[in-house]
């Protein structure tokens, strides 16, 4: 593996909705090729933090930069083009589109043919569309979804929908992949398959992955480093071993269970 260079740098980032500080003062760094977990009790602000990274929300304080380039205030689609792509906690596929078309949408920014050439069916339209189609089919093979290319996304079984969402996020060609509870609602066997898949794509695409997961054991198993968020603030950061023994983390989780 190449020398680990810094990919994502988050400095004092936060957001307030009206008077409410949903996330504040988050400092976080990811190095090229790392697989890092982000955990925390319900309502800790994990998804809000993802929304900050992807531009769904604009941070009201601090800065976020990818490869040294500042991302604050960019529209979500621009941030995606810069190299951050994500999945959603509640699956957001394009239900009425086929599996193939779902992935093709993510390839859209690579398309070279203009609206004009599509409307008048110029040669560049055909070559562009063919290239997208071939790429997408190749790609879906990795995810073992080539058997249901023309199936509508909404008709896939739940586990495959999750996989398709990851495939779609990867097709957008990210440097950093954000996974929001990818194992939610899966049985243990599906979860294990998913973890293997994540390991595989990380290797194959030289990815950096930030993973939100509710299930502590699972995160401990795969992640190299873990950040812990509680009440919108980072309370700990370290290896799984360090996190496991951190009294603040234990309190945050136990506190939740008691209440």
């Amino acid at each position: 593996m190449a020398a680990k260079t810094q990919l994502l740098k988050v400095e004092n980032a936060g957001i307030r909705f009206g008077g409410l500080k949903a996330v504040s003062d988050v400092n976080l760094e990811l190095k090229q090729g790392e697989l890092v977990g982000l955990i925390g009790p319900n309502g800790a602000g994990k998804t809000t933090f993802f929304n900050l990274l992807t531009g769904v929300y604009v941070p009201t304080e601090g800065s976020i930069s990818l490869d040294g380039e500042k991302l604050n205030g960019l529209a979500p689609y621009k941030i995606t083009k810069k190299g951050i792509s994500r999945t959603f906690q509640n699956i957001r596929l394009f239900d009425e589109l086929s599996v193939l078309d779902n992935v093709k949408v993510a390839y859209h920014s690579l398309a070279k043919h203009s609206i004009f050439s599509s409307i008048f069916r110029l040669p560049s339209h055909f070559s562009g569309e063919r290239e997208m189609e071939e790429k997408a089919i190749e790609f879906l093979k990795i995810f073992k979804l080539e058997g249901s290319l023309h199936e509508k996304a909404k008709n896939l079984p739940y586990g495959q929908q999750r996989r398709l969402e990851i495939a779609r996020a990867l097709a957008a060609n990210p440097k950093l992949l954000l996974l929001d509870e990818p194992a939610a609602g899966m049985n243990p066997q599906e979860t294990e398959e998913l973890m293997n898949l994540i390991a595989l794509i990380r290797e194959k695409f030289d990815l950096t992955i930030l993973l939100i997961e509710h299930d502590m054991l699972l995160v401990m198993g795969v992640c190299e480093r873990i950040y812990v968020l509680d009440h919108g603030q980072l309370i700990a950061n370290g290896t799984p071993e360090q996190i496991r023994n951190n009294p603040k983390v234990i309190e945050a989780y136990l506190g939740e269970e008691v209440s």
């Binding site: 998804t47 929304n51 769904v56 959603f88």
Partner: protein, 292 residues
């Protein structure tokens, strides 16, 4: 003093908008539906008032009351027949249904009684105009303002001091939670339609008195403008609808006074688009974002 006179006219017209806007805003607040048929309930109210006065030979206030009761029933019927089955349908389906109901009432009325207009009888109530600081305020304006004010105060009382009002507020806040708390959601929604429609019916009778001419398509433009008023004040917010209606009425009166009376109908929509672009939650509303 011309300008003050125009202001008085604007407030009178605005209070009619406000009465209609209240129904829009209450219904939107509770079932998130733009009830396009609301303007037509207003029209039906005007006609019921007219027939009560001419056929039954009764006075203004009894006619107002009959019209309100009839419209309340009419509103509940519309809700039960057309909207209730769609409560879990898509927003687009509900909106299209509302448009359908609106067209049905308009053209159904034309089919039944023809498209010819009617003239409201004048001199129903002995009206004297008064002079205030050198401005002559017509008795009609006073009557309109007075009636609207009484109805709005009554509405505030119902919403904030009665059991059904509490239920309405609960359902508009969170329908599922309200149901779990033992509130009869269906009845509450029907009550909302009943109250909103009664106000529209009252507005119809008042409108008929003020402008004297009524016809089956009269509900369209005031209905749309009242909706603009509701959006202006912040849809779903009752004081917002009142303020929005009066503000819109005053703006229109001022535009007329400035000599652009042909543009008057356009102004409301310009206001609408501006408010939607710059402050979509309305004057009194809070911005709500979609959860991701």
């Amino acid at each position: 003093m011309e300008i003050v006179q125009q202001l008085v006219n604007g407030i009178s017209l605005g209070s009619i908008y406000a009465l209609i806007a209240l129904g829009y805003t209450m219904v939107y607040g509770i079932v998130k539906l733009i009830n396009f048929a609301h303007g037509d309930v207003f029209m039906v109210g005007a006609f019921i008032g007219f027939y009560s006065i001419t056929v039954l030979d009764i006075g203004f206030f009894p006619a107002l009351l009959i019209s309100m009761v009839a419209c309340a029933i009419f509103g509940v019927l519309i809700e039960r027949i057309a909207y209730k089955p769609l409560r879990n349908a898509t927003r687009i389906a509900a909106l299209i249904t509302a448009i359908g109901v609106s067209l049905f009432i308009e053209y159904g009325t034309i089919y039944i009684r023809g498209a010819q207009p009617e003239a409201y009888p004048s001199g129903l109530v002995p009206l004297k105009s008064i002079e205030l600081f050198g401005v002559k305020i017509s008795g009609q304006s006073i009557l309109i303002l007075g009636t609207s004010l009484v109805l709005m105060v009554l509405l505030q009382f119902i919403v904030h001091k009665t059991k059904i009002g509490k239920a309405m507020r609960a359902v508009s806040h969170d329908m599922d939670a309200a149901r779990l708390m033992g509130i009869n959601v269906n009845n509450t929604i029907s009550a909302t339609f009943a109250i909103g429609s009664a106000l529209a019916g009252a507005a119809g009778v008042i409108f008929g008195m003020y402008y004297t001419k009524i016809e089956p398509l009269m509900g369209i433009i005031p209905g749309l403008k009242a909706f603009v008023a509701a959006v202006l004040g912040g849809i779903g917010i009752i004081p917002g609808a009142m303020t929005g209606g009066i503000v819109l009425g005053v703006i229109e009166a001022l535009v007329s006074a400035a000599g652009y009376s042909l543009w008057r109908d356009g102004v409301a929509f310009v206001v609408l688009i501006l408010i939607l672009i710059f402050r979509p939650a309305g004057l009194f509303g809070k911005n709500v974002r979609e959860k991701v």
